[in-house]
Assembly symmetry: C2
DNA sequence: TTGCAATCGATTGAGTACAATTAAATTGTA
DNA sequence: TACAATTTAATTGTACTCAATCGATTGCAA
């Protein structure tokens, strides 16, 4: 037990988390390339597919992203014709993001992505459920 | 059970992983600010503290980072006076990264960081160990 | 030994990501 | 009603991340 053992990469909990996160996002890439989205664009579209219409603020809360990240992502999705960006009539400060027909149609091409991803994972059902539970628990630390 | 339930953010395993990874890196920031490192610089220094001297290639393998990311990080660490960068005499293609005295001395100021971080986590010992085990398992999918 | 494939770091470009600041709109208050 | 405080998206600056490519070096085989 050396004085500096706590600084070894193998003894960190954060590093495998960081590495796995990057690894999974990279694993998504070939599937997301097929539908022309990046991972960040994909999770933004997932929220829109579920909610149909949402303010930029709420979207940022769902994804844990601030306007510095979200603004260029939403402008890109708009330029792809998948969403519309418009100020709210009730409160001009709010930006309302909504799906276009093209954006809604993309859902049918995205619906296979989760299954393709699960097929790549080496986790058992139990470990996946356990991982999900622990990560949810861990997220409370930042909320 | 809707046709598109698999596309809900709440049903993804990747998203909590991605969110937790970002959350933890952000939680490190105040502690790493005290020693003047970013998270990426910190994990690079951890490898050097453990190995003392390593090629850029090996360092990239340890951290799962390619030269596009690593080159500017190492140049920054060099400009801070923490490391040296020099071509190998045996093989001029290899870049050998080594600690300076200043870089080695920084370890004594970094040694408290892991404990400060654990104090921020809401995980039990058991869950932390379980998380570690599952993430290691998951990483096999990308290796 | 000469030519070619492989290796390695550096560079470039696109896309995140976050902190800090700015500007516009709204709300609360005197 | 003026005006301060708050809220929100956008902008700016710094840093990370990866894919693709390039140039130099090395190793191997004809």
């Amino acid at each position: 037990m050396g004085k500096y053992d706590c600084l070894k990469l193998d003894n960190q909990i954060c590093f495998p988390l960081y590495a796995c996160s990057k690894g999974i996002v990279k694993a998504y890439k070939p599937f997301l390339d097929e539908i022309g989205l990046t991972y960040t664009q994909y999770i933004a579209m997932m929220v829109l597919w579920e909610h149909g219409e949402i303010s930029s603020k709420e979207l940022g809360n769902c994804l844990y992203l601030d306007s510095g990240t979200l603004t260029p992502v939403l402008k890109t999705l708009e330029s792809k014709g998948l969403i519309t960006r418009a100020r709210s009539h009730e409160d001009e400060r709010n930006l309302i993001v909504a799906l276009t027909n093209s954006g809604l149609a993309l859902r049918d091409r995205a619906v296979d992505v989760p299954a393709k991803m699960s097929a790549c994972s080496s986790l058992s059902q139990e470990d996946a459920a356990e991982l999900y539970r622990i990560l949810r628990e861990l997220m409370k630390s930042f909320a």
